[in-house]
Amino acid sequence: MSSGAPAVAAAGVGKVFVGDSSVEALQGIDLTIQQNDFIALIGPSGCGKSTLLRLVGDLLAPTSGSLAVNGKTPNEARLAREYGMVFQKATLLEWRTVLKNIELPLEVMDFDKEEREPRAREMLDLVQLSDFGDSYPWQLSGGMQQRVAIARALAFKPSILLMDEPFGALDEMTRERMQLELLEIWDRTDTTVIFVTHSIPEAVFLATHVVVMSPRPGRITDVIDVDLPRPRGFETRESPRFYEKLTEVREALRRAEPEPDRQ
């Protein structure tokens, strides 16, 4: 971004879901994410990592604390169309072809008609689905659908990509290939990525920083820098450094667990 502001600056952010019994989902979140960082949010179910993602993306409002995105409020950033979202489900509109799905944000954002298709085709090339523009989502495999979702999220060149367990529903092999592709895309675009995951290897392989969270209420307990060399590839997963980092994250997660009362 042109401004020197960090991509995300959170200070004392908390979120309470008010209901029949109020739930404190997040407490005292302090986090600074620099431009072009790749952040993995990891933690057990119920630690509020998806909630944190949605606070950043202005899909939820924080109950306390202050949150700035590119020097703006999350709401201003959303209205300035600085977020691309990818969910666990590809969430493609089944009545649109692949190309038209990628054009959806461009239509909503009033891009010129002549600009939309070339832009969407460029994104299809980026996710290596050039030949599938005229297919319908149901004709694609799960991995391909998720690539379309990524292409759609990047079509309007948002500065921040918010990904909520995007590869969670994919098989292990597809998943590893998608991680590699995502890193290539991240390399080629000036995007900050915030990536929610359950998987320790996924977090270590992808991220510049792994943010470890603990449940009830969700807090950040560790931020682990992953200084593995780039570009990362299949060799990365087999390097001793990779295993050291896995262990570091695993131990951080264990420390984050309050008491071993499960089962």
Binding site: R54, G57, D58, L59, R78, L79, A80, R81, Y83, G84, M85, F87, K89, T91, L93, E94, W95, R96, L104, P105, E107, V108, M109, Q128, L129, D131, F132, S135, Y136, W138, Q139, L140, S141, G143, M144, F156, L162, T174, R177, L180, E181, E184, G233
Partner: protein, 286 residues
């Protein structure tokens, strides 16, 4: 380093499985395959019916043979079709009025959610009234001899199922779809037109198919409560009263042919509007 061909194997496999496509000849064979069982069943029913009436010596006023009914149909051809035309106009006119109202109310409910709490109980109450019982009232409101009084009955009958289904379709979009549009900072109009409306189409059409069948039924029944005599209901009533049952049956036959025609028109429209839908994928996949 990446290998998209891995994924595309899925698509290739899919193409191999495609039942349609290929040569014209296999295509024709498939069409025959699809309609042949129905055609055989239809003809068998007629043959068994004919033989039963013939062999069991069934009296014509109880059940005329298909051959008698066909003969009566051709004898009465012009009378029967002009009666059919009247009934068809009532059915289709009522269908359009009911659809218009149902769509209008559905969109209002989705637009102003507080309306849902007010309107839905009323709509449900209307849905439980046996609407044909309202026919005499409609005759009083819109003049017994006008087509409008029959259209009103048809409209009331179809309003409820279409409205309920359309509201459901408009509302049942996934949380992710809503979040996605929100992340694009999309105005509400885009969420409605680009997500909710296409999402509602399958719901709408399945209700419309039911409604199209109901419309002919409602029109004929409404006619029994009095009105113009050149319509199918009075025609059937009159012929039955004169014990001319072959002609009465011919009238029933025309009523069902017209009902099937309206239904088929809806099916064709559905295919044209949403070729992407699950139920139509085989036809669209070629």
């Amino acid at each position: 380093m990446t290998d998209p061909s891995h994924d595309s194997a899925v698509l290739t496999a899919f193409e191999d499985d495609l039942p349609l496509g290929g040569t014209k000849r296999t295509r024709r064979r498939q069409l025959i395959g699809r309609y042949l069982p129905a055609a055989i069943a239809f003809v068998s029913v007629l043959v068994v019916w004919e033989l039963f009436v013939e062999l069991a010596n069934v009296k014509s006023f109880i059940l005329p043979a298909p051959s008698e009914i066909t003969a009566a149909f051709f004898e009465e051809f012009s009378t029967i079709w002009s009666a059919g035309w009247t009934t068809l106009r009532e059915a289709v006119g009522g269908l359009f009025i009911g659809l218009f109202l149902a769509i209008f109310v559905s969109f209002s409910i989705v637009r102003w959610t507080w309306l849902e709490e007010g309107v839905m109980p009323v709509a449900i109450a209307i849905g439980t009234i046996p609407i044909v019982a309202m026919a005499p009232i409609m005759n009083a409101w819109f003049s017994i001899t006008s087509l409008l009084s029959k259209m009103a009955v048809v409209a009331l009958v179809i309003f409820f199922p279409v409205m309920i289904n359309t509201v459901r379709g408009l509302n049942e979009v996934s949380a992710e779809e809503v979040e996605l549009m929100r992340s694009f900072a999309a105005p509400g109009r885009d969420l409605l037109l680009r997500v909710r409306v296409p999402n509602a189409l399958p719901y709408f059409f399945s209700a419309l198919k039911v409604a199209s069948a109901l419309s002919m039924i409602a029109a004929v029944v409404a006619e029994y409560f009095g009105g113009r005599q050149d319509a199918l209901g009075p025609y059937i009533l009159q012929k039955a009263g004169l014990l001319r049952f072959a002609e009465a049956w011919a009238g029933i036959g025309v009523a069902s042919i017209l009902g099937i025609a309206v239904y088929s028109a809806v099916v064709l429209l559905e295919r044209a509007v949403m070729p992407w839908h699950v139920s139509l994928r085989v036809a669209a996949g070629e």
